[in-house]
């Protein structure tokens, strides 16, 4: 599974790297290092939506915040791999 996290200016200011750390930690905690690849992407064109833009395997673009992260990770990542 490829998880792309937006690191364009808007998302960067909304906390891209905090998001990367959350993903890195969650991936490690769940031993998914071999199943999931994290990648950066400059702008997904959803600058005005809430949260950092995150895209899984070229699918839909989600706005992920610290608050909805756990829910997002469970439904979109854990349940899918």
């Amino acid at each position: 599974m490829l998880i792309e996290i937006c690191i364009g200016s808007s998302c960067h200011l909304k906390g891209s790297h905090d998001m990367i750390e959350l993903f890195e930690k969650a991936i490690a905690d769940n031993n998914l290092q071999n199943d999931v690849v994290l990648a950066g992407s400059f702008c997904m064109g959803c600058c005005s939506q809430e949260g950092v833009s995150v895209k899984i395997d070229d699918g839909e673009i989600f706005g992920v915040t610290k608050e909805n992260f756990n829910d997002f990770f469970k439904t979109k990542v854990l349940d899918a791999v």
Binding site: E4, I7, G8, S9, S10, H12, L13, S16, H17, I20, L38, A39, G40, S41, F42, C43, G45
Partner: protein, 481 residues
């Protein structure tokens, strides 16, 4: 265009008008049909304002249009002479002018160590050119400033001595010596030397992308942008770039953060480095100090480093660098950089692009630009790279004792390189920037003001990320540490 643009000179303004009109027709797909109309648009009527007649003005404009469209493809140099625009300025060197009053003091004679000065029956001074070494002392001491230095501005500007003369007295660039810094471009009062433009390539990339659906066109902007377009807000410039059709805008300063991170590591390993950010400085070493090539950092320039990263995340991307630099136009064509950068534009050309689409950036909403740290951003001015390498060493937890020498202007670079070549003490990190003041002094800048350095520092301080590691951790590079 009623709005006043901030250009330093009328030569820049003229060049801008040509670029703007070429771009305007290129967007519309009507360039070929209007090639012969553009000169009349820029110089209407019958009254000459620049040269002997409007016909010569228009003939020169035709040459400027060719250069705006990419110039002479058979000439590998990105800097080109427009021979019919060259005024064939005098090259006599120091000469006594009519202002000489034939005084009694003869300070000029006393100061001349070569005995080159003699006097006629009216006590007026004369310089014997067979003895004169052009030191200029006589001119300095003359109370009437009666001794003038007739030196061509282009030759004066070219500190690598790449400019000579053709048999017809027009300026000639020696491509073996030219480092494409653009100093002559900025200094020629007739605009007879100019940098080739890749503006049509940029427009083609945007048009063929079909609104970024076929592939995405990324603009990466040099940090010196903070000292340019001062009539608007930086956020408005970013919106303007997107309005042109670029998919997004990324700070090249993030590439500078990458460079600072790895260059400081390389310095610890090798113990002595010269910087590789400035393509004109690197070319200068290759041409004039080939024995010192081993000291040149193996890091890509910030432009290329960022282009490489973007292409890793998006292999179909087209990356257009927008900066202050004419030498970058040479750098991006090098085999080691070509895969990462598709086109290079200057700030002058960006201004022309805005106006070719009648985009008034002062009326636009502000977008954000934030990818890099303070240290990546201050690369734009002399000393910034050295500060960033010092910070890099700190962040690596190294106790390497940095002795940085920040050289701006090719003359200062030459002094440091001469010392290095003779094993004289010159520190262990030579930051070389071909332009005086660093990139903010680049030939492709719209303005070269005193305040530009403080603008860059201010922009640096506004960065969201305070350290290099913070800025590059989004790139997942940290694991390499």
């Amino acid at each position: 265009m009623s709005k006043t643009r901030k250009f330093d000179t009328k030569v820049q303004h003229l060049k801008y008008k040509v670029l703007r009109e070429v771009a305007r027709h290129a967007w519309d797909g009507t360039l070929q049909d209007n090639l012969y109309e553009i000169p009349k648009t820029i110089v209407p009527g019958k009254e000459a304002t620049m040269r002997c007649c409007v016909y010569k003005e228009r003939a020169i404009l035709e040459e400027r249009i060719k250069i705006a469209m990419g110039g002479d493809k058979s000439n590998p140099n990105v800097i080109e002479v427009i021979d019919i625009a060259c005024d064939e300025c005098p090259v006599g060197g120091y000469e006594v002018t009519e202002a000489c009053r034939g005084c009694l003091a003869h300070r000029c004679e006393d100061v001349c160590k070569r005995g080159a000065i003699s006097f006629d029956e009216h006590q007026k001074a004369h310089i014997d050119k067979t003895k004169c070494v052009e030191c200029g002392q006589c001119a300095k001491v003359c109370p009437y400033t009666a001794i003038a230095n007739h030196k061509r501005p282009c030759i004066n500007a070219c500190k690598v001595k790449a400019i000579g003369m053709n048999e017809d007295f027009t300026a000639k660039i020696d491509n073996e010596k030219c480092i494409s810094c653009g100093a002559c471009v900025y200094q020629c009062p007739f605009g007879a030397i100019t940098d080739k433009s890749f503006i049509l390539d940029a427009i083609d990339f945007i048009k063929n992308s079909d609104c970024n659906r076929n592939y995405k066109v990324y603009a990466i902007v040099a940090p010196s942008i903070s000292s340019q377009f001062t009539y608007a807000k930086l956020g408005q410039v970013i919106t303007g770039i997107k309005e042109l059709g670029f998919f997004t805008v990324v700070e090249t300063a993030l590439g500078a953060d990458i460079v600072a991170y790895y260059e400081s590591k390389e310095l610890i390993e090798k113990g002595l480095l010269t910087s590789s950010c400035c393509p004109a400085f690197v070319t200068y070493i290759e041409q004039q100090f080939p024995d010192l090539k081993k000291y040149v950092s193996h890091n890509l320039s910030p432009m290329a480093a960022l282009g490489k990263y973007i292409k890793e995340t998006d292999p179909d991307a087209k990356v257009v660098f927008i900066g202050p630099c004419t030498a970058k136009k040479m750098e991006f064509q090098k085999p080691g950089v070509k895969p990462y950068i598709d086109c290079v534009l200057t700030f002058e050309e960006l201004q022309a692009l805005f106006d070719s689409k009648d985009i008034d950036i002062t009326t636009l909403p502000e977008d954000v630009l934030d990818n890099a740290s303070y240290f990546g951003r201050i690369f734009a001015r002399s000393g910034g790279l050295s500060d960033a390498v010092a910070q890099g060493l700190k962040e690596h937890g190294s106790d390497f004792e940095l002795k940085a020498v920040a050289c701006d202007g090719i003359e200062a670079c030459r002094v440091a390189l001469l010392k290095l070549s003779k094993n004289l003490p010159v520190g262990n990190f030579i930051e070389g920037m071909a332009c005086v003041g660093g990139c903010i002094g680049g030939a492709g800048c719209l303005t070269h003001g005193e305040k530009n350095k403080s603008e860059v520092d201010k922009y640096g301080e506004e960065a969201h990320e305070k350290t290099i590691s913070d800025a590059i951790r989004v790139l997942n590079l940290k694991s390499d540490k």
